[in-house]
């Protein structure tokens, strides 16, 4: 296309013009995306997972800018300059059908972009990012200090969450509190239908599947509260299946978990033994 655009006799060199406009638009939009919009992209910086996710999102959004600008500039330019005035006279354009060089160039560039993206994503996955997404019973990526991780079992149930702390006598509570700066290993499961444990500000999301153990890791880095919501349609009160969790200091956590152990001691001893998976009672609807 653009190679054939270089017509000698005074006609505008459309290809060059498009390229210049595109370069300017990209030069403006890329810094805007990185430094102006980028910092506001969710989900904040509360944990290692959200920091990774934020970086990834800014990188992807920035990489999208040249593509977005190319299409926008090209289409806008074509619409502006290749427009035929309204009227009954039908004028045909030039009958050019294809240029293999441009097609091959386009194919190579898009392929390289895809391979680059996939490589970046894979490296990212192997190096801690994506730890927050449910990895199943055999995680691909495991954080360095996983041995000392605080184990928390998340049990989904229509329509609330229960959190079990196996290293604290298997106490079960409806509240989720986590100590700051300590690796946490979630084991997510369900006792009835499929739910999805989404700790939004922590950057954790893992499906809760009956009879399955789904692991996810997070290291909270800041004190504060976070929302927990169900992100998989689970029936009538799906939208109400939420709670608020807290990230607190080590000492506060110790106090809190001790209080929970006392509070629920009578219940804890009647609970079924700790298990990574639970099976629902067979449902017979009839």
């Amino acid at each position: 296309m653009s190679t054939s655009a270089a017509t000698a006799g005074g006609a505008p060199r459309h290809g060059v013009r498009i390229a210049v406009i595109w370069a300017v638009a990209t030069a403006i939009s890329v810094p805007v995306m990185i430094w102006v919009i980028g910092p506001h992209i969710p989900p904040g910086a509360m944990s290692n997972d959200t920091r990774d996710q934020h970086t990834v999102d800014v990188v992807l959004a920035t990489l999208a800018m040249p593509v977005l600008m190319l299409i926008w500039v090209y289409f806008a330019y074509s619409i502006r300059y290749f427009r035929q005035p309204e009227g009954d006279v039908i004028v045909d354009g030039p009958p050019d059908r294809a240029q293999p060089r441009i097609q091959i160039l386009w194919l190579v560039v898009t392929l390289l972009m895809v391979i680059g993206l996939a490589t970046y994503g894979t490296i990212d996955l192997l190096n801690d990012a994506g730890l927050g997404g449910g990895e199943g019973p055999h995680p691909l990526a495991v954080p360095a200090d996983a041995k000392n991780a605080l184990q928390v079992q998340v049990i989904g149930q229509q329509w609330f969450w229960t959190f079990r702390y196996p290293s604290y006598g298997g106490v079960e509570t409806p509240k989720l509190e986590l100590p700051v700066n300590r690796e946490v290993e979630f084991h997510v499961t369900s006792v009835d239908v499929i739910h999805d444990f989404w700790a939004i500000e922590l950057g954790v999301k893992a499906d809760a599947v009956p009879g399955a153990d789904n692991t996810a890791f997070v290291k909270p880095l800041e004190n504060g509260t976070f929302q927990v919501r169900c992100a998989e349609l689970c029936g009538l009160w799906h939208g109400h299946m939420n709670t608020t969790g807290r990230v607190v200091s080590d000492s506060q956590f110790a106090t809190w978990i001790a209080a929970q152990q006392t509070k629920y001691s009578t219940i804890t001893k009647d609970l079924p033994p700790y298990s990574l998976v639970y099976y629902p009672q067979p449902v017979r609807n009839g």
Partner: protein, 645 residues
């Protein structure tokens, strides 16, 4: 081709005998079918009730509305009554009994043929179009109800249960109707015209798919009478196992659509392979036909998987099998795998026809040949092939083997390469073009604007670390509305504005069309772009209760959505106004297209071509004054050929 001489006598014989009005009323038609469907439901429901009471131990709480065996059998009865009442069983039954088949469906005139089995592909296509638009507007109305409920951050208006039913009806009906939405009306109408054929390969099957689609739509609506269903369009298994009887309607209607999709795909493939006119080489096939071919391949291969999975849920619910019951050796993840193995090709069943339409429209109004024809075809095949290799990205958070994630991330991103080719085709076609801004062209250009956002947001979803944030959130919802509504529905609208003059002979009003376009384009983007943000800020899909901090955003989106709904009323108004009240003859070739279908009179005569044409060239000979006409229609030139520029 060979059919010309064989069929001519039948035409004469059947068109001489038009039954009286009473004969029409009592013959096989939709009224008779409705009656038989209701009778069939009642009879088989009764039988099922008896079987259920005696064969399956009632371990639960009981209650007649939960008797799934009776309800499912009743629906089978309704289906048999429906197709029997429409006369689909006459031919096979006659043949089995060794009697000569009576083919009453050969009638060619009168309004009644629109209410019965008709084997004219143009009649079936118009039946399809009316049916699809009817259900499209019902599903759109559900979307309006959904947005109304979401103006409040707590389920106050309809209540949580009704809200989920609305969500499920909207999603399922849109998916069902839109997957039939282009193959059915435009595919059935245009493919024979574009390849120079008088018919589809299997006319009775073609009609059957149309009537099954209608029945599926009504059965799905019947879910509201059976208590609704809480699963959305995805019908995830343990929830579907425990849901009340409304889910049976979802299962049966979706299964019917699965059957219809597979049949319509097979019919399309056989038609294109066997019924091309002489000279219609594969490299002269219009790009729209290629789009239908690739879509049909997906439909034929993917829909049976859905059908199998749906039957497994039906069995789980009715006769207590345990395919998806974790405690008894089943797996809830099995449904997700099977469903998305169908579901992701389904997404491209929705996308490829959109590509096909816009690439067919662009050359006409750019007055240039389609740029990169071979690459466009290759791109469509690439998309079709790749779409079977990406389904596990729907399960990224489900605890699948996490070693598989890099692979599915790669394949998902790879599918953007063939999709990108379609953009290159459009860009090449627009280069130094003579663009005319008709309504179809506006829709075609908007397709690329919208689909670009859909595609770019898809890159975020394919990248697993980023997907942790966006999976199952409104980000996904915005993403697929940008591809399906912004892509397919815009293309469908463009296609309707472009081809309706050929189908009916009347043009849609240009001014109303432009109002419709701009309203739809602006409010579509105002509705769905903010939802990307809603998802990233923590709003899960299908909730009627959300964080109060998102309230303002949702009220804004709802307001825009109502305007989007109003723009659809402009379309409906335009349709009624231009087709019923203020009819303006379109002429045979109002767009000055070089396509084969535009060389025929509008509306197209019953047997399409007086003689099977001999194809000289592909239909994109713009800017080549010396090129031969697209086809040689034989010595007796069909009216309208002179309309070509």
């Amino acid at each position: 081709m060979e059919s010309a001489s064989v069929r001519q006598p039948q035409v004469v014989k059947s068109s001489t005998r038009i039954p009286s009005a009473w004969g029409q009323l009592l013959g096989y038609n939709v009224i008779w079918a409705t009656v038989l469907a209701i009778v069939g439901y009642i009879v088989l429901h009764k039988i099922g009730d008896t079987i259920g009471a005696h064969s399956v131990a009632e371990t639960g709480s009981g209650g007649s509305d939960q008797d799934d065996i009776a309800i499912l059998m009743g629906m089978v009865g309704a289906i048999l009554g429906w197709i029997g009442g429409l006369g689909f069983l006459n031919y096979p039954v006659s043949r089995i009994l060794g009697r000569p088949a009576t083919l009453r469906e050969r009638e060619e005139h009168g309004a009644w043929r629109y209410f019965r089995l008709c084997t004219d592909h143009k009649v079936v296509a118009i039946q399809y179009l009316v049916a699809v638009l009817f259900f499209f507007f019902i599903a759109g109305l559900n979307a309006m109800f959904i947005r109304t409920e979401l103006t409040s951050d707590n389920a106050t208006l309809f209540g949580a249960g009704n809200y989920l039913t609305l969500v499920g009806l909207h999603g399922t009906m849109m998916l069902m109707m839109m997957s039939a939405g282009i193959l059915g009306p435009l595919g059935n109408y245009l493919v024979p015209l574009m390849i120079g054929s008088r018919r589809m390969a299997f006319p009775r099957i073609e009609s059957l798919t149309m009537w099954l689609t209608v029945l599926a739509g009504f059965i799905l609506l019947a879910a509201t009478l059976l208590g609704g269903f809480p699963t959305g369009w995805t019908g995830y298994a343990p929830l579907a196992d425990e849901a009340r009887a409304g889910i049976d309607a979802y299962l049966v209607s979706f299964a019917l659509i699965g059957v219809a999709l597979a049949l319509v795909g097979a019919n399309m493939l056989v038609t294109v392979i066997t019924l091309r006119a002489p000279g219609m080489h594969w490299n002269r096939l219009p790009i729209f036909v290629w789009g239908m071919v690739t879509t049909s391949i997906l439909a034929v291969l993917a829909a049976p998987v859905l059908l199998a999975a749906l039957i497994m849920v039906m069995m789980d619910r009715s006769i207590d099998t345990t395919f998806f019951v974790a405690a008894q050796g089943g797996s809830p993840l099995l449904w997700e795998e099977l469903f998305w193995f169908f579901g992701h090709p389904e997404v491209y069943i929705l996308a490829l026809p959109g590509f096909a339409i816009v690439l067919e429209i662009l050359p006409v109004f750019a007055r240039k040949p389609l740029w990169g024809y071979r690459v466009a075809v290759a791109g469509m095949f690439g998309v079709a092939l790749m779409s079977f290799m990406v389904w596990q990205h729907h399960l990224f958070m489900s605890g699948i083997n996490s070693n598989l994630r890099p692979f599915y991330m790669f394949t998902t991103e790879l599918i953007s390469v063939p999709t990108g080719m379609v953009f290159l085709n459009a860009m090449g076609t627009l280069w130094k073009a003579k663009i005319r801004f008709t309504v179809p062209m506006l829709f075609a250009l908007a397709f690329f604007f919208n689909f670009l956002f859909g595609g770019l947001s898809g890159v975020f979803l394919s990248d697993v670390p980023s997907d942790v944030l966006t999976h199952g959130s409104y980000f996904v919802m915005a993403h697929f509305h940008y591809t399906i509504m912004g892509g397919l529905v815009f293309a469908l609208m463009g296609g309707i504005y472009y081809w309706l003059p050929k189908m009916t002979g009347f043009k849609l009003n240009e001014k109303l069309g432009k109002i419709h376009f701009w309203a739809m384009f602006i409010f579509f983007n105002l509705t769905f772009f903010p939802l990307f943000a809603a998802g990233m800020l923590g709003m899960p899909r299908r909730v009627s209760n959300y964080n109060a901090s998102l309230h303002t955003l949702n009220v804004f989106v709802s307001s825009a959505a109502f305007c989007l709904g109003a723009s659809m009323l402009v379309f409906l108004g335009n349709l009624v106004w231009s087709m019923v009240f203020k009819r303006e003859r379109a002429g045979d070739n109002p767009w000055h297209s070089k396509g084969l279908e535009w060389q025929l009179p509008s509306p197209v005569p019953v047997y399409n071509f007086e003689r099977i044409p001999v194809i000289n060239t592909d239909p994109y000979q713009y800017g080549s004054p010396d090129a031969p006409p697209v086809a040689d229609f034989g010595p007796r030139v069909v009216a309208g050929q002179a309309g070509a520029t």
